[in-house]
């Protein structure tokens, strides 16, 4: 296995190609693993404490070796950078056609540094790579940008696919995302602000090359079994039909939504159910990530008859909302009409902004207004005019979204980096402590689901290397109470038992390694929930990985590779000063009892510390400081990383 890395220095305009050799794959697997390695190398010669919006930051795009090979459910590309909103390690995955096309361009990894003197876009057409003026694209949303580039660059030698930022990224809003083909957003951590700070509006790619497979017969056989196994499970068809919206009913039943800034955990009103979506809004699944055998995505087009609010959006067409889009609109902001939830998904995608941090910024302000902690005058000071802050009022919400996207008033400027920094700044400005109402986990990142009854899920939020998130530790053994899986992982049922802390931290530690592998392979994670083989990225996917790359690592070695990747992310965060005290969650989750649902009365504090201790123990890190030990790093063949950490005073003593 060998791959090409495209290095683009926007300051000088220099473009060069490097070979990523087989030995790099042996150590870093591919995809997010190699992205991490590229970024780590970069910050050995650049100041890691730089302003993430400065030319010193790096933006890496990468796509793993299983992507586009028929192995796995869907291609996922990955962007990696230092996060401007959380000031730590940042990365984000996204699907669509862009990463698929990148695979055929010959450059699977793209590293962007410096800053262009004026707005540009990068055009990769097989081995012809060039920078072009983007002044005609500046100010456009991601949809328009994509359409213009697709039209201008045409269909030869292949269709054009794009990665672009919207107005939020241009204005360097900390929580801005990067959007693939105007449909799928790499939302988390603020990659859009990094591109905006570099004056890079878009990357357009055309590729007509091929991917060489080491053992084609191996991968064909693997793919057949993979497809047959998925085909045998009727739940897959439910998933094709509803996508992640199927979670709406389940979360409603057990009490796991994030209603009104998590003052509750059930949606109010009857409108927001997946049944309602299917009945009124469902048009056949027409859009899909490339190379996906499941195809859980669908398109809608509003004709105005679907619901009361639909009249406002006649003709609007976009993707079916995902669960977290729904969780942020119908949950955090209490929007009760599907047309408005769908519209929320569309505008956040068009502006290119993360709907998690965005919704929690807005719901924070709505809640303190609800409690009468700020007056109408205070609100008017934030917006420059009177502004209603009514829960669920989509027109109010859109005004608040625009404030942040265009940075047009004090509210937008205060909350551009999400609810945590926003609430801190606002508390300081008002001389009053509002932090009780800021909803966040590690790094100040927010997440619109009820966490309190779920100790593993909570632990995920506290330790994820990119800030509060479920997609690193994926605590599904516990959330779905999979006693059967707990038995397989730990030889006992405890990891699936919500009442005890046992194996909660351990399952985060192990699954983070597995997820790091999946992300490095470059495939979608949803297979995880739909097939038992999904839980075996080291053995099951390992077979596909070996067939494609010729990297002959067995399951045990691959698990170690996954652990190595996680440790590099951790090391990055240790270098920017993060310790055990940063692995925490907000006050409400920690201390305020879960108000309703099947598990009332729970608080994170019940099990938080023992679970965190267990996580560090299973990781082989120092429990007191949360830092890595030299012994662990050397075991993972990361002695050089230990040296760097030691020089920075970020290695555990002893």
């Amino acid at each position: 296995m060998e791959s090409n890395l495209l290095r683009v220095d926007l300051t000088t305009g220099e473009i060069k190609s490097e070979i990523i050799g087989h030995e790099v794959f042996e150590k870093w697997v591919g995809g997010s693993g190699i992205n991490n390695w590229i970024m780590w190398q970069h910050f050995l010669t650049h100041d890691i404490n730089c302003d993430p919006r400065s030319p010193d930051n790096i933006f890496v795009f990468g796509v793993g070796p299983l992507a586009g090979s028929g192995a796995g459910s869907g291609v996922k590309g990955r962007i990696t950078f230092k996060s401007p909103c959380y000031d730590m390690f940042g990365d984000s995955a996204g699907g669509g056609k862009f990463p698929y096309m990148v695979r055929f361009s010959g450059y699977e990894y793209i590293a962007i540094t410096g800053k262009a003197p004026k707005p540009v876009y990068l055009h990769i057409c097989n081995d012809e790579v060039s920078l072009h003026d983007a002044s005609h694209l500046w100010g456009k949303d991601t949809k328009e940008t994509h359409e213009i580039l697709q039209r201008d660059l045409g269909d030869y030698p292949s269709k054009t696919h794009t990665l672009s930022i919207g107005q939020a990224g241009e204005n360097q809003v900390g929580i801005a995302g990067v959007v693939s083909d105007a449909l799928r957003i790499h939302a988390r951590c603020g990659g859009g602000a990094v591109l905006g700070s570099k004056n890079l509006k878009a990357i357009a790619v055309q590729g007509s090359g091929g991917i060489k497979i080491k053992r084609p017969e191996g991968i064909m056989k693997w793919s057949d079994v993979f497809r047959q196994s998925l085909d045998a499970n009727e739940a897959v068809y439910g998933f094709k039909r509803r996508g992640t919206l199927g979670a709406v009913e389940m979360y409603q039943h057990i009490g796991s939504h994030f209603w009104r800034n998590n003052q509750g955990n059930k949606f109010r009103g009857e409108g927001i159910t997946s049944d309602n979506w299917v009945k009124r809004f469902h048009k056949y699944s027409e859009v899909c990530s490339s190379d996906c055998f499941i195809a859980c995505d669908a398109k809608y087009k509003i004709d105005g008859t679907e619901s009361e609010a639909a009249k406002k959006y006649v003709g609007e067409t976009f993707r079916r909302p995902e669960y977290l889009t729904t969780g942020s609109a119908a949950g955090a902001l209490d929007v009760r009409d599907w047309a408005e939830v769908a519209h929320w998904g569309k505008i956040t995608n068009d502006y290119g902004i993360d709907n998690q941090d965005l919704s929690c910024s807005i719901s924070f302000l709505m809640e303190i207004k609800q409690h009468g902690l700020i007056s109408d005058d205070d609100v008017a000071n934030l917006f420059g005019h009177s502004q209603s802050l009514e829960w669920g009022n989509m027109d109010d919400i859109e005004a608040l979204v625009e404030s942040i996207v265009y940075q047009s008033n004090p509210f937008g400027k205060l909350f551009g980096d999400g609810p945590y920094k926003g609430a801190l700044r606002y508390s300081e400005m008002m001389g009053q402590n509002f932090m009780k109402y800021a909803m966040y986990g590690k790094g100040g990142a927010s997440f619109t689901e009820e966490m309190r009854p779920f100790p593993t899920w909570m632990n995920n939020m506290a330790v994820a290397s990119r800030g509060a998130d479920h997609l690193k530790g994926l605590g599904l053994i516990e959330k779905f109470q999979r006693r059967d899986l707990s038995q397989i992982y730990f030889g006992g049922p405890e990891a699936a038992d919500l009442e005890v802390p046992t194996y909660k931290g351990a399952s985060t530690a192990i699954i983070e390694n597995q997820v790091a592998l999946l992300n490095s392979y470059g495939v979608c994670m949803f297979h995880w929930m739909l097939d038992p083989a999904g839980y075996m990225p080291e053995s099951y996917y390992g077979e596909a990985y070996r067939s494609i790359t010729g990297v002959e690592h067995d399951s045990e070695m691959l698990m170690r590779d996954g652990e190595r990747i996680c440790n590099l992310e951790k090391a990055f965060n240790s270098r920017v000063g993060m310790r055990r005290e940063h692995d925490t969650v907000c006050e409400r989750w920690m201390w305020e009892p879960c108000p309703e649902g099947k598990y009332p009365g729970k608080v994170a504090a019940d099990m938080f510390e023992p679970v965190l201790d267990e996580y560090y123990q299973w990781r082989g890190w120092d429990v007191r400081s949360g830092l890595q030990t030299r012994a662990k790093l050397e075991e993972l063949d990361l002695g050089d990383v230990a040296d760097v950490l030691e020089a920075d005073g970020a290695l555990a003593r002893g």
Partner: protein, 93 residues
């Protein structure tokens, strides 16, 4: 003989066409409940509810909880008057 109520959500609701149901069981066993449900709703329900590899309830992409919010498995026992909710087990997005 006990009576167990069922609630069907999302994909389960689509297959059964019902929001809920009630079954009389000779033995208070999840296995008997599963057998009655698959018998009543046919092959499609069976493909959703039973994992042929394990003969347990299909755990992949599904969720079945009792009234306390505890997941049930095929070898669990049931109490008279219990309500079991059949849900889609999906997260994230």
């Amino acid at each position: 003989m006990i009576t167990v109520n069922t609630e069907y959500h999302s994909h389960f609701k689509e297959i059964t066409g019902l929001a809920g149901d009630s079954f009389e069981l000779d033995e208070p066993l999840v296995s008997e409940l599963a057998a009655k449900i698959t018998e009543k709703y046919g092959a499609k329900m069976k493909a959703l509810l039973i994992d042929p590899r394990t003969n347990d309830l299909n755990a992949n992409g599904t969720m079945y909880v009792d009234s306390k919010g505890k997941r049930i498995f095929i070898d669990d026992t049931l109490e008279d008057g219990e309500t079991i909710a059949f849900l889609v087990g999906i997260a994230g997005g």
